[in-house]
């Protein structure tokens, strides 16, 4: 019951590892044959939680050359069904092999009663939910041998019962568990639009020293709401927020998260260079490190 004792893994901050991409199968050949100037890769854990074959061979080649972070979609940390220990055991096994700089998943739930809806679902920001999730995060951190970072999701509905803002909820969670944060800058924008709050209030409400990674992505605008589609370039408003985030939390390792309508690697590189340039402009010491 002592939330103050942080798990050992999470007591030291993971390193800054630069500017990278989410690893997608469409780019395997270009990466392995072209050695593009990408600092690191984020891999979707579940894609490699398969028995064998080519996926793991590719990952082995990638991890020889680049730092890797494991990003999962199925931890379901906010679910009221028991933690899936089989899943966590497989995840830990993969982490043992990959040796990621950290492991991340989303602050959401994906299903109850044994059903997986394969979506990142929202929940009310209540004291009850906070207690529940704190307990689960502590359990997962004790179980995994790697630092854990949780990501804010894009959401489309909010609940009558919510007592806290999303940023206060996340702040309390990181204070009570010592978990790290993966701040998806696009998700902050999407949720601020959908739930009519000020994105800067969210950003300024998150503790300065807990964010270890940013996600950058595109979205689709339906006028009365925005959907986090990850199928398009980063929008102007999100670039502005990224700048503010690098200022407040930085330097923070960042990737582009493109899941749909995936362009050739060469077409993503200018966007990655822009992410790097802004990071270096705000933190000039990164430039001398790179040189």
């Amino acid at each position: 019951m002592n939330d103050q004792i942080l798990s050992e893994q999470n007591s030291s901050r993971p390193p800054f590892i630069g500017f990278g991409l989410g690893l997608r199968s469409e780019h395997y050949t270009d990466i392995l044959e072209g050695n593009p100037p990408i600092d690191w890769f984020e891999v979707v854990s579940e894609n490699f939680m398969v028995p064998g074959g080519r996926p793991m061979q590719i990952l082995d080649q990638i991890k020889e050359r680049y730092p890797v972070v494991m990003h999962g979609v199925s931890m379901s940390i906010a679910s009221t069904q028991p933690l899936d220990m089989d899943y966590l055991t497989d995840l830990k096994k993969l982490a043992k092999h990959v040796q990621p700089k950290w492991i991340s998943d989303h602050l959401c739930w994906t299903g109850v009663h044994g059903v997986n809806l394969h979506d990142l679902l929202p929940f009310p920001y209540t004291a009850e939910a906070l207690d529940h999730i704190v307990e689960r995060v502590n359990k997962v951190q004790d179980f995994l041998d790697h630092p854990l970072a949780l990501e804010n999701v894009s959401s489309y509905v909010s609940f009558k019962q919510s007592e806290l803002s999303e940023w206060d909820f996340i702040s309390e969670l990181t204070k009570r568990t010592g978990c790290w944060l993966l701040l998806d800058v696009n998700n902050v924008f999407v949720s601020s639009y959908n739930h009519e709050f000020d994105a800067m209030e969210f950003i300024n409400g998150i503790p300065e020293d807990r964010v270890v990674q940013f996600h950058m992505a595109g979205h689709s605008d339906y006028e009365t709401y925005i959907v986090d589609t990850h199928d398009a370039p980063v929008r102007d408003e999100v670039w502005d927020l990224y700048r503010a985030c690098q200022k407040r939390f930085g330097p923070v390792s960042t990737i582009i998260e493109r899941d749909d309508n995936i362009p050739p690697l060469a077409e993503l590189m200018p966007e990655l260079e822009k992410i790097r340039a802004i990071g270096q402009e705000i933190h000039p010491q990164l430039k001398s490190q790179a040189a």
């Binding site: 579940e46 398969v50 074959g53 679910s79 044994g114 979506d119 609940f159 709401y225």
Partner: protein, 258 residues
């Protein structure tokens, strides 16, 4: 006040049954009604599951066409919600579902095409169990051979098709003109496996398929030679058996039975 558990139960019901169970728990915004916002999740749910099936059964999808495939995929996810944290396994009952679907009784090639695609998926990411090599067999003494038994690599799947689904697969793969489906008095014996890191399949002759299936059930080399005697003169049978065995070893179909 609803508990977190009650809210999640209601939310899930609203997604699975596409109903308004959760509506009293969520709020309108100044720009949009909550029912429309809830529908973002309700719509995304089916769309995502259909996409999983399209990705895992791309040729079945192309062959059946958007409308037909989506309609039956919807039947599938409504009766087989995903029960695994990994979407990789969501479609594991889909081939059999197509085979048994009442609207496809006259199109048995659809189910068989899906079975073939699932087998290729299995080949792609099956465990990296070490295959037996020529050298492993070279160590056997002549008296070991008759009682030699076999275990097949987890990347292999045997299929007996009653349609020309494999020809349809090939014509789709080569992007040639689609061959017409045939299912009269037809049996095509196939095996799929992973070779050089690629998922592959090839046909088997009836006698090779028979001894493979029997070996899988536990028949030893001596028994296999005997069975081949029903296809070939008895003095040729051991030679035939040795030939097939050699091909299986070369293709890395076999693993240590111990």
């Amino acid at each position: 006040m609803s508990t977190l558990k009650e809210i999640q139960d209601k939310f899930q019901k609203s997604i699975l049954q596409q109903d308004a169970t959760i509506i009293d728990e969520i709020v309108d915004t100044s720009k949009e009604e909550r029912a429309v916002l809830l529908n973002v999740y309700q719509h995304a749910y089916g769309a995502r599951l259909i996409e999983f099936l399209e990705n895992d059964f791309p040729k079945t999808f192309t062959y059946m066409g958007d409308e037909n495939f989506h309609h039956i995929a919807k039947d599938y996810y409504e009766t087989h919600p995903s029960d695994n944290p990994n979407a990789r396994w969501f479609g594991r009952f889909f081939p059999e579902f197509l085979t048994k679907h009442p609207e496809l009784v006259n199109n048995p090639e659809c189910g068989e095409l899906a079975h073939l695609e699932y087998a290729l998926g299995t080949a792609f990411d099956a465990p990296n169990t070490k295959p037996l090599t020529k050298a492993d067999f070279a160590q056997l003494s002549p008296e070991d051979w008759p009682t030699l038994s076999f275990k097949t690599h987890p990347s292999t799947t045997r299929l007996s098709l009653k349609t020309n689904a494999s020809e349809i697969w090939s014509s789709l793969h080569k992007e040639e003109e689609l061959v017409e489906s045939k299912s009269k008095a037809l049996i095509i014996e196939l095996i799929s496996w992973r070779g050089d890191n690629m998922a592959r399949f090839r046909t088997m002759s009836y006698d090779e398929a028979m001894i493979w299936d029997e070996a899988l059930k536990g028949a030893n080399f001596g028994q296999i030679c005997e069975m081949l005697g029903t296809y070939w003169p008895s003095e040729e049978a051991p030679l035939k058996a040795a030939g097939y065995l050699q091909a299986w070893i070369a293709s890395e179909f076999l693993i240590d039975p111990a």
